[in-house]
Amino acid sequence: MARHRLLPYLSVVAGLAVWEAVGRFTPPIIFSPFSATAWQLLHTAALPGAIAQSLGTLATGFLLSAIVAVPLGFAMGRVWWVREMFHPILTGLYAIPPVAFIPFLIVWFGLFVESRIAIVVIMCFFEMLTIASAGAATIDRRLLDVARSFSAPRHRTITAVLIPASMPFLFTALRVGLVRAVAGVITGELLLSPANLGKILVDSAARFNTAGILGIVATVALLGLFVQQGLLWLERHILRWERP
């Protein structure tokens, strides 16, 4: 068992070694080794500021999206006529790739921060909505029946049964949404007027500075991993009763 626990770390180290080796044998104009990338990343003065700005966009867009998506998803899961009314339209809208809205967003919100927030909102909205509605639809009926047989008042049923029963899937919805939101931030920063992390990326690409590009790619990847693991951690701490 201990062997399997060690393997993931070994795999990560081996992967970085392969990256280093491949980077050394390819011309720097196409690909850079890990060491050069890390070096470049440490010497990008604008990086902390850019990350902070990107996180600001991320948080704003994500919160705006969640405020609408979670209650609507909940209503769709619990109230059948709401589900039947919204379902066809939302399926249709969901089939449109979020990036396809970009030219439209430019018309509405311009090229700067408002548009970037809008793309984040669209990117994570439907994922959160689907998960919230599917989760709300599968809340155990028996739990609600217990509340009813003890003739709990409506607000008690909500606070004591519905909310705790919804926590697990709400966390899943928020986690999946947040990862999508990270993707939305970088997409917006690249495809609209380049800004923050996207600007560093575009500038590096313009100078064929592959170390700079890979550094930002790694930053974005780690950011995604970090928010995902952070929410998982939070979920385990808040939802202690869910653990076996």
Partner: protein, 249 residues
């Protein structure tokens, strides 16, 4: 009754859109009546039709590559602890990495040709195929495998008669999610290099009226719906006894 509700939902949406479109003006939000007219016009333009069809080719090729690579990989990860331990950290990293971020370096590596779009499609869809197949492979019922083994079935036979049927719903779900991401990423890739659908969208964005832009969005929506519906039909035809699994992993 349900059909009525659904239709009324769509009708209310269209009416609200029409009212909003009329009051905001076509420059901000073209009303559906304009969009339908624009759709009809789009259908008569041979050039645009050809562009849209050609945009689908890299999506299909990339999606096929994703399935061919992702399904075996996911099955192996699900059945082998070592492969799982080795590959899982990378899969979790890649699945959360936005493809948009890799586009600039891909342009340096593979240029901006046809294969660029295919590469973007593969890199954005393959992880979903792998991870969904993995979920299925992990959940294969041990007892079923034991029955196979108890009757002395060969490994090939166990794979064909036990594992494959058990995996099927997950393969299907993986293919579906993969296809959704394939179509999304084609548009993403083409928006970067301004060809195909991306080029059309960009051009339409320059128009004074948003009718053409919205018409293109409707076309893309239709393609997406048709693709995922078509896949469902194919699956039903291949294995009518199977129910689709929940697509969220």
């Amino acid at each position: 009754m349900i059909l009525l509700l659904r239709l009324s939902g769509i009708a209310i949406f269209l009416v609200l859109w029409e009212i909003a479109g009329r009051s905001l003006g076509a420059a901000l939000l073209a009303p559906p009546s304009d969009v339908v007219a624009e759709l009809a016009k789009l259908a008569t333009e041979a050039q645009s039709r050809a562009t849209i069809w050609q945009s689908l080719a890299p999506a299909v090729v990339g999606f096929a590559i994703s399935c061919a690579v992702g399904m075996p990989l996911g099955a192996i990860m699900g059945r082998s602890k070592v492969a799982d331990a080795l590959l899982h950290p990378w899969m979790s990293l890649f699945v959360v990495t936005s493809v948009a971020a890799i586009v600039p370096i891909l342009i340096l590596m593979v240029g901006t040709g046809w294969w660029f779009v295919v590469t973007v499609v593969v890199l954005s869809s393959v992880w979903y195929v792998v991870l969904t197949t993995y979920q299925g492979a992990v959940r294969i019922n041990r007892h079923l495998l034991d029955v196979g083994r108890a009757f002395g079935a060969s490994r090939v036979r166990i794979f064909r008669s036990v594992m494959l049927p058990a995996l099927f719903p997950y393969l299907l779900a993986g293919a579906r999610i993969g296809l959704v991401h394939a179509i999304r990423s084609v548009v993403l890739a083409q928006l970067f290099i301004l060809t195909g659908l991306g080029g059309l969208l960009q051009e339409a964005g320059m128009d004074i009226s948003t009718a053409r832009l919205l018409a293109l969005l409707v076309v893309i929506m239709g393609l997406g719906l048709a693709a995922s519906h078509g896949l469902g039909q194919v699956a039903h035809w291949l294995a009518p006894w199977q129910k689709a699994v929940d697509e969220r992993t």
